[in-house]
């Protein structure tokens, strides 16, 4: 078969161009360390990488949510532990105050201490987190949970809503406990056989009053009610502990998930250097072979032999 010189040159040049571009492409991959130099190299792979990147970013978001929840719950924990200690002290004082051997002056001293403890509890009930949110106000985070009225009464002005945040695609955790559940009310029997709801701070005030007035029935009632309040704080602490456990266990899950996604992402996008370098050597070899053979073949001409 006849091969024209133009054809010989054209096809050799095309071959060498192809091999050159293969080498250049592999070089670009090696330089970037990525399997794909641009998305159009493999649209499916590119889409997969984007999806995995999205998933990774999701996990980062969940991690930030966990961090946020952690700091919020730590604030709540500090407040609750403080409240528990204060209430414990009040309870001790209540037991002490019920003792018949005390005189009025002793009771007055106790009443003073109870008053101070109540004020401390009041300030704990209006704890704010690092962003300035009142943590015991329900969702009305911009207002203090309890306010001191003109009559000296401290009333709850938050709401009963609990805020949950997503800490995984399927898992939520509550980051607050409404203040009226922490600094809870007690049901006190009324004269008519019914009952009424008495607020946390009113219980303490009533107890303090009972101490100053020496009202024995009031003292006994105060002791019972304060025990109930202590119980509610303990429940709140248990609830908090449960939520903190959820966060800790989710951290482990998250770490595993992130590792899994990182592996998938690395498989999808990172270059296998050993294979790539081997391929590059093969491509360079084949380019050199094409160049060498072209140089030889192109020198062949019958004209060289005509004298």
């Amino acid at each position: 078969m006849k091969i024209s010189n133009a054809q010989l040159f054209d096809s050799s040049i095309a071959q060498m161009n192809l091999k050159q571009s293969n080498v250049a492409e592999m070089q670009a991959k090696l330089a970037s360390g990525k399997q794909l130099v641009k998305p159009s190299d493999d649209a499916h792979q590119a889409a997969l990488i984007q999806r995995l990147n999205s998933a990774m970013q999701r996990q980062d978001v969940f991690e930030r949510s966990l961090d946020g929840a952690d700091s919020r719950l730590a604030t709540e924990e500090t407040a609750l532990m403080g409240a528990e200690n204060l209430l414990q002290r009040i309870r001790e004082l209540a037991i002490q105050g019920s003792n018949d051997t005390l005189n009025d002056a002793d009771r007055n001293i106790i009443a003073k201490e109870v008053g101070h403890l109540r004020d401390s509890l009041f300030s704990l009930s209006n704890t704010q987190d690092t962003s300035g949110n009142y943590i015991f106000s329900g969702t009305a985070v911009n207002n203090p949970a309890f306010v001191l009225g003109g009559d000296g009464a401290m009333t709850y002005q938050g709401n009963q809503n609990q805020t949950s945040i997503d800490i995984s695609e399927t898992r939520q955790v509550a980051i607050n406990r409404p203040g009226d559940k922490v600094f809870s009310s007690v049901a006190r029997a009324t004269g008519g056989g019914g009952s009424e709801s008495i607020g946390f701070f009113k219980v303490l005030s009533d107890f303090s009053n009972a101490l100053t007035t020496g009202n024995d029935a009031g003292l006994a009632q105060g002791l019972t009610e304060i025990s109930a309040l202590t119980g509610d704080i303990a429940v709140s602490l248990a609830d908090l502990g449960g939520r903190m456990n959820t966060i800790d266990s989710q951290r482990d899950v998250l770490a595993d998930t992130k590792l899994r996604y990182q592996n998938l992402l690395s498989n999808a996008q990172d270059l296998d250097y050993a294979t790539a370098v081997t391929k590059l050597s093969a491509q360079i070899l084949s380019l050199e072979a094409a160049q060498a053979s072209f140089a030889k073949i192109s020198q062949l001409s019958l004209f060289d032999y005509i004298r």
Partner: protein, 537 residues
């Protein structure tokens, strides 16, 4: 009268011409579209002398092109088919690169948006996080518009490329018409100058690169050209060259009107197939139009979904949320994807309703509601419970089913637990819920919501657009490889006959040189013979 001298003289002339032809072949070995020429010799008419015919030498018969119409039309068709793939690959890859890159992809903007929504949901009272969310919501809108702009650029580019191709086709048609007129001056193909035929074939090849053509050659070598097949729209006929033009409809980038002005009136032609022009039309209808409409649909879907959540929530001022994105996107497409809110306090992170149990309630019942549909009016009522009358709203009894569910003013409520006599719940706008994140949680969860009818999320739907464009490009690349092999074969087949090989020409050169030398020897011999006659004394 036959004599050595005239045979010798004729032969030297013949071989001089043959050598000239070989030299011409060598000289034109790199001329584009050159067809190797062959000098053919013919015997002179023998002369009857005595009892037999005596040969009277040879003369130059013709100089013909080493040419096969079959090879040539194979080459034309294969280059039409190959040319179809190139614009498809070039532009589909552009789309994939624009839509699939980390920096310009919508995926990144979606991630950012939902990530900000998620962050805001963990602290909805934070002004800083609200501003971040607003910034990323705007980022999403900007990304939508940028992508739309990129696709529009591609649309404009293909538009001008189509016009450019049609201008070339028209120009080639005119040139071919002129060549046809030149060719028509002779009656047979053999009389035509080879360079004119080469020029004709070159034009036909250029035409075939633009679109698939059907060529009919007449006896004199003039050609009639139609698009696609023998029934296609005429491109060049003996009387005229057709003028082609294109019309575009911005609303329908997939359909391009190719108009052919054959007889003075421009009419639509559908016979453009193959070639780079066919490839451009295919790209627009198979890749560009679906991608553009897919992006527009995604823009509308995103706007609808985000607004539905935003308008069924309460903002930082305790007011019901208003649309975050401009709903006019349904008319404008992704180009009109626009953020309406500029005040971060207008972001409705909180749930719409505050359900408050009366502080005096003694029962253990709680009330909740399911997700609220967009457009539902804000309810404001009190639910009362009495042992005697059951549940009632404003004195009217409410039917609560066995699961504790009842519907009121388009919202479903669920009662859990047992209420006590006289308990009540107030339901109204959630005005004091700065720390409420219910709505922002819904916004963050929108990322996984199966918003497409077939169950895909918005992010998946977007990636599918990228994948579809990538598939088309990948298929075109496979076809291109196959068709390149076909075209290479056609080139080799044509070249085998029509190409110039220096080795062949060298051999021919020697052959004709020797023949020339021998012919000269004939003259020498004749001269010697004449001298011998003259030398007789």
């Amino acid at each position: 009268m036959v004599d050595l001298l005239s045979i010798g003289a004729g032969a030297t002339q013949l071989y001089r011409s043959a050598l000239t032809t070989v030299s011409n072949n060598i000289a034109n070995m790199n001329t584009d579209g050159y067809t190797r020429q062959v000098a053919t010799s013919e015997q002179n008419t023998p002369v009857l002398q005595g009892g037999g015919y005596i040969g009277s030498g040879a003369h130059l018969g013709n100089i013909t092109r080493a040419f096969s119409e079959f090879n040539e039309s194979n080459l034309r068709n294969s280059s039409s088919e190959l040319g179809t793939q190139d614009p498809m690959i070039k532009y589909a890859d552009r789309i994939v690169d624009v839509m699939g890159s980390d920096t310009s992809s919508l995926s990144g903007a979606f991630d950012q948006f939902f990530s900000s929504a998620s962050s805001l949901s963990s602290d909805p009272a934070s002004g800083a996080l609200r501003n971040l969310f607003l910034r990323d919501a705007d980022g999403l809108a900007i990304r939508f518009r940028e992508l739309d702009g990129q696709l529009n650029n591609i649309e404009k580019e293909t538009q001008s490329e189509i016009n450019l191709k049609l201008t070339s086709l028209n120009e080639l048609g005119k040139q071919l018409y002129t060549i046809n007129q030149q060719l028509a001056k002779k009656t047979t193909l053999g009389e035509q100058p080879p360079n004119l035929l080469d020029e004709r074939d070159g034009i036909l090849r250029d035409m075939a690169d633009i679109a698939k053509i059907h060529v009919k050659q007449n006896s004199a070598g003039t050609v009639e050209v139609r698009l696609d097949n023998e029934n296609g729209t005429s491109v060049v006929d003996p009387l005229r060259a057709t003028v082609f033009s294109a019309t575009f409809d911005a609303a329908q980038p997939g359909t391009v009107g190719i108009l052919a002005n054959v007889y003075g009136v421009a009419g639509q032609t559908n016979s453009v197939t193959g070639g780079s022009l066919g490839g451009l039309l295919n790209f627009r209808s198979q890749v560009l139009a679906p991608t553009m409409s897919g992006l527009d649909a995604l823009a509308v879907m995103t706007t609808t979904q985000v607004n539905a959540i935003q308008t069924t929530g309460v903002d930082a001022n305790g007011e019901r949320g208003t649309a975050l994105y401009d709903a006019d996107v349904a008319n404008t497409g992704a180009a009109g994807f626009k953020l309406l809110q500029t005040d971060s306090s207008k972001i409705a992170a909180a749930g719409l309703l505050q359900i408050s149990a009366n502080a005096a309630n003694t029962g253990g019942a709680t009330l909740s509601h399911t997700q609220i549909a967009a457009g539902t009016a804000t309810p404001n009522f009190t639910l009362n419970f009495t042992t005697a009358g059951g549940y009632a709203i404003g004195g009217a009894a409410v039917a609560v089913n066995a699961n504790g569910v009842f519907a009121y003013q388009g919202i479903n409520y669920t009662v859990t637990g047992t209420p006590a006599n006289g308990d009540s719940f107030a339901i109204g706008l959630n005005t004091a819920g700065l720390g409420d994140n219910r709505n922002m949680l819904l916004m963050a969860r929108l990322q996984d919501k199966e918003t497409y009818a077939d169950g895909r999320s918005m992010g998946e739907g977007y990636l599918d657009l990228v994948r579809t464009a990538g598939n088309t490009s990948a298929l075109a690349k496979i076809s291109q490889d196959a068709l390149q092999a076909v075209k290479d074969q056609a080139v080799i087949a044509k070249d085998k006959l029509s190409g110039v090989s220096l080795d062949q020409e060298a051999a021919e050169l020697i052959r004709f040189q020797q023949a020339f030398q021998a012919s000269a020897q004939i003259i020498q011999t004749a001269s010697k013979m004449f001298d011998s006659i003259l030398g007789i004394r």
